[in-house]
Symmetry: C2
Subunit: 277 residues, 2 copies
Amino acid sequence: MTIENISCNKSFGGWHKQYTHRSEVNRCTMRFAIYLPPQCSNGTKVPVVYWLSGLTCSDENFMQKAGAQRVAAELGVAIVAPDTSPRGDDVADDDNYDLGKGAGFYVNATQSPWTTHYHMYDYVVKELPAIIEENFPVSDKRAIAGHSMGGHGALSIALKNPGMFASASAFSPITNPVNCPWGQKAFTAYLGDDKSAWEAHDTVCLINASKAHTPMLVDQGLDDNFLAEQLKPEALQHAAEANQYPLTLRQHEGYDHSYYFIASFIDDHLRFHAGHF
Amino acid sequence: MTIENISCNKSFGGWHKQYTHRSEVNRCTMRFAIYLPPQCSNGTKVPVVYWLSGLTCSDENFMQKAGAQRVAAELGVAIVAPDTSPRGDDVADDDNYDLGKGAGFYVNATQSPWTTHYHMYDYVVKELPAIIEENFPVSDKRAIAGHSMGGHGALSIALKNPGMFASASAFSPITNPVNCPWGQKAFTAYLGDDKSAWEAHDTVCLINASKAHTPMLVDQGLDDNFLAEQLKPEALQHAAEANQYPLTLRQHEGYDHSYYFIASFIDDHLRFHAGHF
């Protein structure tokens, strides 16, 4: 697997880099970003936090806006941020922001016209970690985190792959996509009408069916425009309580859905993950 | 003077807000951003760091990418980020990124077609501080900082207004615009051919003519693409040494001209300013 470096910026003594590569599972060129902390310079293998972004984002939003590099450098943790969908002129798309490019929802599409390229689940779970572990000085210790659609991705992927991630965390996650408009629209398009296929990617459903207990931290702003209709943290809390799942859910007065919220608490997430590596 | 709030995000316990207002000096609607630290909530008047951005930027780049709010909240310091030029359909512009909109260079234009709207010097020195001090819980303690073109603005404005700012700092400033392509192009367009008008806005020339000694911190990356041709930190260093000017110039191996560099050292700048309030 060949990867091509397309940008490089020194950051807090480490390096932020972007790469492109041919994705076998998405059948297109994908771009990702990686932050390598200064500890990598002497060949030390560091753990990796995978960050999954939300609707409309690319690999750039988190790296530019979250302010995560400072504590990642302190802790000696790499961060990998993939794009949120396949890209390219021949990739199916939709006129709306919540379907198609920028809105892959971290599933493998089984429905036309999406199934040709939209395999973000396999990309995040298989192809990308293999690329990272082959090309960079990282250990096999992994965590996964994300925001909104990416929070759904992070929590559901951790639940579906026990043992792969030491911990999982999310900001403002879509906790119960089978029961909200964003999730219902995307899952209908990508997965069809069979609700059991949807439930296999729904964090609340997965907690109810899970025996594994990957530690989970979730932050939610209480002035988030999407809170009641799309995000439903109470559904996550109820599922965790019913199943004695190790969830820490923090709800923050005044905070919204933006990267200003993420930046305010990202340090806690990195320290949470570092504590479980 | 009426200002209109157009956005509001909680950030590190304080608030990031954007406002628009009619600018008398620029004869157009201007937008600025302000970060109010949590100390403001109980009515405490806090000092203000004015941040001047570089070419192509608006009020948003610094607030979204520098990660400054964390330490501003800790120190109890407000940050104000103006736009980098007048804006609007009737405002003169140029096809290139380094003249016209997004490239006001913090001077008062005296040449056609720029003189109608381009009065960023008066905007930053007079109109904006008056608006801030009338509308927000801030004290009369001020500092000024900036990046690239905004570094030129911050240092030259501090030197031209002794006593107004307790301290000044810059990342990758255009130190000697009369001797670099960016500066020569902009000053010719905005100020005409009279070099004495240029020197009145040139940090190196101002240090050579200055009796006031506002403390100054400058950070420069050594892998900055613009270093030799446009930025010339050695000219600044020579002027400071010749005049026993209190300059701390730090040159950083591997860092470039981007916000990844600014984010890596912005905490030091805020602590520097807080130490002089």
